[in-house]
Structures are given as structure tokens and as C-alpha cells.
Symmetry: C2
Subunit: 456 residues, 2 copies
């Protein structure tokens, strides 16, 4: 797990080697590092606005390693470095990258530069870029790579192995071989494991698995990642509308999607918009914009709580002690509701919970929330007695049960409701649930109080 | 992506085939389904407390597929089905499973049953179970499998390929071959891709990559998963204190860990304890226990807000209109703080943010939160004028900026503080942050009000 620890030490050494133009020291320092680690070093320089050093290091790498390192950089830093490079060296670097990473780069580069770069590219790579760039962001098509091993169905095992050997340097994974019919349609698959244990003279057509787990170019990347996880796949083949194989999504890209989607859900759960980069690197204006929209919306949501309080102003004036319990009651309802919403949203995201489970979950939540409300009512009742006497204690206890029950059920239902409306259930964020329950909690609490205490 | 859709239809057909003891129909129905899908069918029966049908289906599968399907079941359902099986068939099933899955099973089974099962097992598997079971849950040791391909360093490429062919049926992955010295220490690695393109007579010792990315048995599973993701590995080898290879963690297990850890962080973010099973399946009593602890703690946290209100009772009585803005102000502070905490916690979990970034993030948060507070103050000021005049509007606006700034900085710092204390930063959950900010917000608001309005 070394690699990041000595980053600071290496940075200084690399800067010295660059300043002295000491190629040997430079090669030694870069040669012992893995591509992911060199990329992290480069990111550190770019983050300090020292693009010149990062470019000099990139230039010092052998071309194939340079392409690999460049692939590991985040989108933003790729574009910053590309801005400082001439067209020809950049094209040479891009041609060393995987077709999926290259397409991602081209999706972000400006129109003019894009044209200039494409003109300099080899025909095959150019067509691949244009092809992959045509798929919508967030789909299997945008995630897939065109660097896979596909063979015609008529080969023998030894012929197939020969093809694998020939393709090995370029393909992202050689461990799953896809078998195509004359029309380029996906008809079967064999793992390299199956190929190497098979008799060399056997026909691929007889050995191959015909029922291939696959996905379509327009499938959502989250679903593709789930498929990889569910069936423990190394890669999942992607077909077009005519069942022709057009690419594969590999396990490492699926892992990245899984991590990005989890981050997105966590951020949504706290009412933060989508951030493409890490929080330490995203521009401040963007961070502001991603946070302010929801915050201001919630301000207006909270006005309903204020309006509720204003409506019961006479009740409050008659018994100011009630205000003591206000934050506690609406806070508890909000917390229980946010828990229920979080459990439901995450359950839906991992596929554990579906819409058809709604009735069952509702029954379960009713029981659990009832028990939660009762426990919390018992916890606050003594404080009610202390501060306002038996009558206030009763009001607080009944309000607690009602608000926790109401909040929990609302928190559980909201994600289903949003899903039905075609929205992302993760939008049922904790702050939204809390704000809605706050406003309802005010009305429930003072409503019960004014009834039982004969106020207002 | 088919598979789950026809689940209900298949359930009915399977029940009919079982009732009629129609082996041919049964084989046809089960044969066309993948193991992950058959496992889902079995889970559906067990969830409806119909263990008998699930066991009958498991029994109808060929033994090797049965072991595979059993591996896909969740821990709880594995134990429920095992309870209904005799020792000998259960042992035969367990011997078909991967060594890591088998060890997980033995970690959960009761002491008596464990002894009985182990006695019936082959010596090799028995020792493996005892060995793997000795590692602490949540470490690389508990996650790893012993079914890997390792070869001595002295072989040629063709000899190495022969070994791979022999090991192919048992190993979890044959695509990465680990090379050991005489003492069983990990000295190098070669991918199957490298082996098949190499000259058959070449020496493994010359070709192999000597600097192997590896981890130790006691490494945390989250760090192991990050290693797999960072370097796009198929598997990461695990060594003991003497650098001897003892197992590998494969990419699919890393993906599962990543998903489970994300769920855990999301639940912690909403003050829910750790759930081993999905929310739709966890027992109600456990769900209650996992939620009540934090809810009751937060009740007492909220009492501080109540105490703050009680302290300013005279201020409130003198100007009841102030209460109108109370939920809005403390709610906004809580929301902004929860956003900041979430961004920091997730950044720390994905490795984007480290403790050394604290100063930089603090400066960034100061700027962003200042802008957020100012915007929100401008949004509420007109309402302040409407409901209480210019003086109240001024109080509300100043309070808003102060509370949002304070809440955001606290939300950002809390995860770092917890990390320093050796706690999981994810414990800095939104409800905790919100509750703390609520109490402080009350004091800030009424403090400013009593000063500026000359009340209290």
C-alpha cells in the first residue's frame, strides 16, 4: 500500500531532476512508480497550477506509459494539460489510451480543438472516437471500450487462442472472448480459462456458452454496474439494436461507476447537486451553486413551520413553556423520518427494495416507528412533568408518538412516490424530509396542545 | 438484463414441477437460469418461510451448481437452509464452495454444528476453514480465498501454463499467476495474458513482475477494495507477516465490499447502526435497536435547544414574532452544516480528502458558507420586514449569516475531529450535526435579538 506516502519526497526529487535535466534520475524515479501513482503526482502539480512541471514529467515518460498515466488523470486536469500541449504530441498520447478514455476526453474538449485533433488521427481511431462520442453520457455506450477480443464462430480452439495472442497487447481484457456470427451478432462467449483447458482441435461453436449475459448501448450505467456485480463478471458485452457487438464494459469501470453513484446518492441525500470532481478540487462557484439551490428552497419550506407557529401564537403566548419542547419534537420526527427515507432510498439503489415491496415495508415501518415513538415519548414524559406538569407531559408524549409515526411513514413513502413520478428517489433527501416533517410537526404539536389544554 | 422479470412466473412453474416430482421439467427450468438468479428464487421461498421448497430445489441441482447457488445466498438464509439439512449433504455442498465463502459460513454456524461438520470434511478443506476463520471480520484475511494459482519461481513459461491448466477448475481466478520462492514468499507475478504471448521456453523468473502490489492479512477490507479500484486489479495477493502468500482478494469481492461500505456510510450518515442484511429482510427488533439509540441520544441533544429557548423566555414573551423565524434559522444552519459534513465525510471515505487538507478546506468552506449565508439572509430579510419591521429583519439577517457560517464550519470540522479521536468520521452524521447546530443556533439568534432589540 506504499505509493502515496513518499509522494512529497518524490515531488522534491523530481523537481530537482527536471531542473538539472537529469534524464537518468528522472527515468529511475518515474520507472519505479505505477501509472496510477505517477498520475497522482501529476495531479498534485496541476492542482498547484504548475502545469509546466506536470507537462515536463508527462513528456519524460515513454509514450505508451504516458497514455496510461494520462488516462488516470481526472477529466478537469486532462483538459488543463491538453491546453498546454501541441496537437501532434497530444494525438500521439491519445492514440495510446483505451478507446473509452479517449472518447471521454473528446466529449469534453472544445469544438475547434476537437476538429484539429481528429484530423491528425489515424482513420480507425478517428471513427472510433466519433462512434463512441455519439452515445449519451451515463449509458453503457458511453462507458464501453471498443478494445475487446471477438472471433468468428467457425474457428477451432487453437485458432481462437492464436487470435487472442495477436489481440493481447491492445485489448482491455483478453480473458473473455466474444464469438460473432457472420452478421457481427453476439452468439456466444468463452473465457480464456475454458479455451486453455479445451482440446486444441475442438470447435469453438460446440464449446461456447450461447446464453451470454449482455446489455444494450442505451442501458443506464448504474444498471450495467449492477449486472457486473450480480454475476461477478470480468466484463459485460454491449450490443446495439440489431444484437451486433459494439463494445464491452470492464469490471474496473463498473467499480468506478459504483463508487461514483454511491457518492452521488450520498450527496443527493444531503441536498447537494452532482459534483463531477472531488470536493477538494471543485471550483468554489460551482460548489456554491450546487448547495444554494436546495438551501434557499428549504428556507421557503421552513416558512411553513413559521406560519404554523404564527397561527398558534395565542396558544404559545398562553403557555410559553410549550416552546421548550418544540425543537425536540420536530427534531425527533425529522430524524426518524430521515432514517426511514435513507433506508428506503439505499434499499432501492442496491436493488434490495422494489416498488412491489411497498405494502410489506409500510407494515414493518408502522410497527418499528410505533415502538420508536413510544420509547421516545417515555423518555421525554418526565421532563414534561418537571417543566409543565402532568397535562404538558401528556401533550408532549402524545405529540411525540404522533410526530415520529407520521414522520417515519412519510420518510418511507416519499422515495416510492418520487420513483412513481419518474424522479430519482435519492431526491427524497434528509433535509427535504426534515423540512416537511418540521412544518407538519408544528401543526400536530400545537394542535394537540390547544385541544388538550383548552388553549387558543 | 432478463432474469428477475420472469421470477414470479418461474416460481409457480417450479412449485408445480416439484409437486409432480417432474425431474425433466425441473432440470429444464433450473438449467436455463444462472446461479445468481436461482439463488434469488431460493431467497424468495425462504423469505416466505417456505424452507422446504428451497431445500427441494437446492437438492434438485447438480452438486457443483448447488454449491455455487448456495454461495450467492445471504448469510441469514444460508444458516436457515443449513438448519434443515443433514450433515453429510451439507458438507458435500460446502466442499463445492469457494474457500472464502465456506469460511464465512463457518463463522456464523453454531459451535456444535460446526464441530460435527468439520469432522466430516476432507482434511485439506478442514484446515483451510480453521485457518481462514482465524482472521478478524473486516480484514483482508477474512475476505480472501485460498483458491489461487501459485507456482515456484524455477519454471518455464510452458510449465507454468501446464500448472494453470491443472489448477483451472478450482481456482477463483487463473488470470493472475503468483510466483513463490522456496520459502513460499511472494516474489513475482505474471498475468495469463503475459504467459500466453511469451515464448514457451522462456524462464518465468526473467519475465515476472517483481514489484507486486499486495496487502497484509490484517489490512482493513475497505483499504483492500480501494487498492483493487486504484490499480484496476483482477485480484490482490495477501501475505502474512513473513511475506508468505496466504490468499487473494478478487475483484468481485472488492466490488461487494465497496457497495457494502457505501451503504454503511449512508446509514451512519443518517444515524442508523450497521445492518448486515437489506432493510426489507432485517428482523424488526434489530431495526428498532439500530435506530433507537441515536434517536434517544438526539432527544437529549435537542433538550439543549429547549434549554436555550427557556433561557430566553422573556425575550420571546416580549416579541413573540421572533418565534416565527426560529425553525427557519436553525433549520438553515443545520442544512448547511449537514451538507458540509457530508461532503467532508464522503471525501475522506473515497480518499479525495485527507487530514493534511484541513486548512485548505477550511478556507474554501469559509468563502462558500459566507456566500451561502449572505444569499439566504437576503432571501429572508423581506419577510422579516413584513412580519416584524426593519429591526426584526436586521436581527434575522445577521443571525442567518452567523448561523450558516458557524454551522458550515462546524459540519466541516467535526469529521476531522472524530478522525483524530480515532472514531469513524461517518459518525459525524447529519442528525448529530443538525442537533448541535440547532442548540447553538437558538443561543445565537436570541442572543443577537436581545442585544439588538434591547429585550430580555
Amino acid at each position: 500500500m506504499a505509493g502515496t506516502d513518499s509522494l512529497q519526497a518524490d515531488k522534491a526529487l523530481l523537481e530537482t531532476a527536471l531542473a538539472q535535466q537529469d534524464r537518468i534520475a528522472l527515468d529511475a524515479l518515474l520507472g519505479k512508480r505505477r501509472s496510477a501513482d505517477v498520475a497522482e503526482l501529476l495531479e498534485a502539480f496541476v492542482d498547484e497550477d504548475d502545469e509546466a512541471t506536470a507537462l515536463a514529467l508527462l513528456d519524460a515518460l515513454p509514450l505508451d506509459r504516458g497514455g496510461n498515466v494520462f488516462s488516470y488523470l481526472c477529466d478537469e486536469n486532462q483538459q488543463r494539460l491538453a491546453a498546454g500541449m501541441a496537437d501532434q504530441p497530444l494525438v500521439m498520447l491519445l492514440e495510446e489510451m483505451g478507446s473509452d478514455e479517449r472518447a471521454d476526453f473528446f466529449n469534453l474538449v472544445g469544438e475547434d480543438r476537437r476538429e484539429a485533433l481528429l484530423r491528425r488521427m489515424a482513420r480507425l481511431e478517428r471513427e472510433e472516437v466519433l462512434h463512441l462520442a455519439s452515445y449519451e453520457e451515463g449509458t453503457a455506450g458511453a462507458l464501453m471500450t471498443a478494445d475487446y477480443v471477438a472471433i468468428p464462430v467457425g474457428l477451432s480452439v487453437s485458432q481462437a487462442l492464436m487470435r487472442v495472442r495477436q489481440t493481447a497487447p491492445d485489448a482491455e481484457t483478453v480473458y473473455q472472448v466474444y464469438i460473432l456470427d457472420d452478421g457481427g451478432r453476439l452468439t456466444g462467449t468463452l473465457s480464456l480459462r475454458q479455451l486453455i483447458v479445451a482440446r486444441p482441435g475442438a470447435a469453438v461453436a460446440e464449446l461456447m456458452i450461447r446464453d451470454v449475459i449482455h446489455t444494450r448501448v442505451d442501458a443506464e450505467q448504474e444498471d450495467v454496474a449492477k449486472l457486473v456485480a450480480r454475476y461477478d463478471l470480468l466484463a459485460v458485452p454491449v450490443v446495439d439494436d440489431a444484437d451486433r457487438l459494439v463494445g464491452i464494459v470492464t469490471h474496473d469501470d463498473a467499480l468506478d461507476v459504483m463508487e461514483a453513484e454511491a457518492t452521488e446518492d450520498i450527496h443527493k441525500g444531503m441536498s447537494i447537486g452532482q459534483l463531477e470532481t472531488g470536493v477538494s478540487r471543485v471550483p468554489l462557484v460551482k460548489l456554491y451553486r450546487k448547495r444554494i439551490v436546495w438551501l434557499v428552497l428549504l428556507v421557503f419550506g421552513n416558512l411553513f413551520s413559521g406560519a404554523g407557529i404564527a397561527f398558534f401564537e395565542d396558544t404559545i403566548a398562553a403557555q410559553v413553556a410549550l416552546v421548550f419542547f418544540l425543537p425536540l419534537l420536530i427534531g425527533s420526527g425529522g430524524n426518524a423520518g430521515a432514517q426511514a427515507a435513507t433506508l428506503t432510498v439505499r434499499g432501492m439503489a442496491t436493488g434490495d427494495v422494489g416498488v412491489r415491496d411497498w405494502g410489506k415495508l409500510m407494515g414493518r415501518e408502522l410497527l418499528v416507528a410505533g415502538a420508536l415513538g413510544l420509547t421516545m415519548a417515555l423518555a421525554v414524559a418526565p421532563i414534561g412533568v418537571m417543566r409543565g406538569g402532568d397535562a404538558v407531559a401528556l401533550v408532549v408524549a402524545i405529540s411525540m408518538i404522533t410526530i415520529v409515526l407520521f414522520g417515519s411513514l412519510l420518510g418511507m413513502c416519499l422515495p416510492f412516490l418520487l420513483d412513481r413520478l419518474g424522479w430519482d428517489p435519492a431526491t427524497a433527501s434528509a433535509p427535504l424530509v426534515t423540512t416537511v416533517i418540521d412544518a407538519c410537526g408544528v401543526v400536530i404539536y400545537f394542535g394537540i396542545a390547544s385541544q388538550l389544554l383548552g388553549l387558543g
